[in-house]
């Protein structure tokens, strides 16, 4: 109990004094996870929608695989990205290992299946509703996907937020490919892991509270934005 209390105090002290390290770590967390979210969404939203409207031979297999990939172990993803980016790996010359870029790549791999799968579930219902009309209007696949994404944007927000939640709280993969280097690749989760290992529970807890607050803040902000953005609430 004392540790938790000390953690709350530490968190307040860090936030009120706008601790330079804390701000840096928090911003990097946001930068990595939001970049990963944007890139993953750019792939996953159209792909999930496409899966919902297209009938092809191995569709069931593709969907089952996608659902299985939602549970992709981050540590294994980290390992793979590490091997690909390491000096002896195929992309070693790019020198990306232990940079925020490497962390973004790992997180994109982790959250893309998650976002695509939730998108597919949501879009399947909307497509069932719109199917006859869009076929009758002789729409192209592109027009269908764009229409579904636009009209289903509220449910897609849930998909994106689930992806963001997974990315911001993820530690295994970014620890491996980022290396938790101070002032370079240290983010909230890896910092918490480090401080816990060192026995500095107050600081670890403080960072933990900041992390939770950050996740809440981003969710509230996105919800507020999407509600004021458009008329109507269907």
């Amino acid at each position: 109990m004392n540790d938790i209390w000390a953690g709350i105090q530490a968190a307040f002290r860090l936030i009120i004094t706008l601790d330079a390290d804390l701000v840096e770590i928090t911003l990097r967390s946001l930068q990595v996870s939001l970049s990963a979210l944007v890139i993953a969404s750019a792939f996953a939203l159209p792909f999930g929608t496409w899966l919902a409207i297209r009938r092809f031979r191995y569709r069931r297999t593709a969907i089952a695989t996608l659902n299985a990939l939602m549970g992709l172990p981050p540590v294994v993803v980290g390992l793979f990205v590490y091997l690909l980016l390491s000096r002896s790996g195929p992309f070693g010359v790019m020198g990306l290992l232990f940079t925020p870029t490497a962390m973004i790549i790992a997180q994109v791999i982790i959250i893309t299946p998650l976002i695509a799968s939730i998108t597919h579930q949501a879009m399947r219902e909307l497509w069932a509703e719109y199917h006859d009309l869009l076929i009758s209007l002789n729409t192209t696949n592109r027009q269908r996907i764009l229409t579904l994404i636009w009209d289903g944007r509220r449910t897609l927000l849930t998909a994106a937020l689930a992806g963001f939640g997974r990315a911001i709280g993820e530690v295994g993969a970014i620890m491996i490919v980022g290396g938790n280097i101070d002032h370079a690749t240290r983010v909230l989760t890896t910092a918490i892991a480090l401080e816990t290992g060192k026995g500095d529970f107050a600081l670890a807890l403080g960072l933990g509270f900041v992390l939770i607050a950050l996740a809440l803040l981003v969710n509230f902000a996105i919800h507020a934005l999407s509600r004021t953005e458009r008329e109507g609430t269907w």
Partner: protein, 238 residues
């Protein structure tokens, strides 16, 4: 849109679902003008016939041949479903949608949308979400959305089912207007009164087969087959 006559001819069209024939084989010719009413009991294949004509039904055998090339044909047709499908957008955006798909300039779209909103009596509801409209308003919007492209052929699948007298009259007025400006209309209905009011010719389907076809007055006054006679008299035909 350039009006070239658009007639259609079906030869031995057969539609199967799970090995069972639900329509046909049907051979049928429809002229480029007029108001065709497709009559028949439930499950007679009316909707399937409409969808086959529209080109959205998978046909097992036979041919549907329009007098125009396929791309033009699809572009010049519109279809109104039995339960109107509303895009989750405002009335304005629902009306604009078919025109946006064609890549029409925005100013032109705005003009047409306002014009059609007035014709269907929804000019005060332009910014309301379409899924929140009442049943009659939705069907009027669906008809307006279908007519806004000035289609040469309009299909309607029981557009007035579940509507009250006033909404039915408003929709019928829209359809007669469209007919007078040269739109070919093919419509299914269960209401015999409506069929008598609108039809220029009648197609009578029974158990997936074309049972009788003819000009409206002849069909209503002196049906050729006993099934059509009992159907018109209100008996249950199976």
């Amino acid at each position: 849109m350039v009006s070239r006559p658009m007639s259609v001819s079906l030869s031995n069209v057969l539609v199967k679902r799970r090995g069972k024939a639900i329509l046909g084989p049907v051979s049928l010719d429809l002229d480029a003008a007029g108001f065709t009413i497709v009559l028949g009991p439930n499950g007679a294949g009316k909707t399937t016939l409409l969808k086959a004509l529209h080109g959205v039904e998978r046909i097992s055998d036979g041919k549907v041949e329009w007098s125009l090339p396929e791309v033009e044909t699809r572009q010049a047709q519109a279809y109104v479903f039995q339960s109107p499908i509303m895009l989750r957008r405002s009335v304005r955006q629902n009306l604009a949608y078919p025109l946006q798909l064609l890549g029409m300039p925005k100013s032109e779209i705005t003009l047409r949308v306002v014009d059609w909103a007035q014709r269907i009596g929804l000019e005060d509801a332009l910014d309301r979400p379409a899924p929140r409209l009442s049943g009659g308003e939705r069907q009027k919007l669906a008809v307006g959305r279908a007519l806004i492209r000035n289609p040469q052929v309009l299909f309607l699948d029981e557009p007035c089912a579940n509507l009250d007298g006033r909404s039915t009259r408003e929709i019928e007025a829209l359809l007669l207007d469209a007919r007078d400006t040269g739109t070919r209309i093919i419509m299914t209905t269960h209401a015999l009164g409506q069929a008598r009011r609108l039809a220029s010719d009648v197609v009578f389907l029974l158990n997936g087969n074309l049972h009788e076809q003819g000009a409206a007055p002849a069909f209503f006054n002196a049906p050729q087959t006993s099934e059509a006679r009992s159907f018109l008299e209100g008996d249950i035909v199976e």
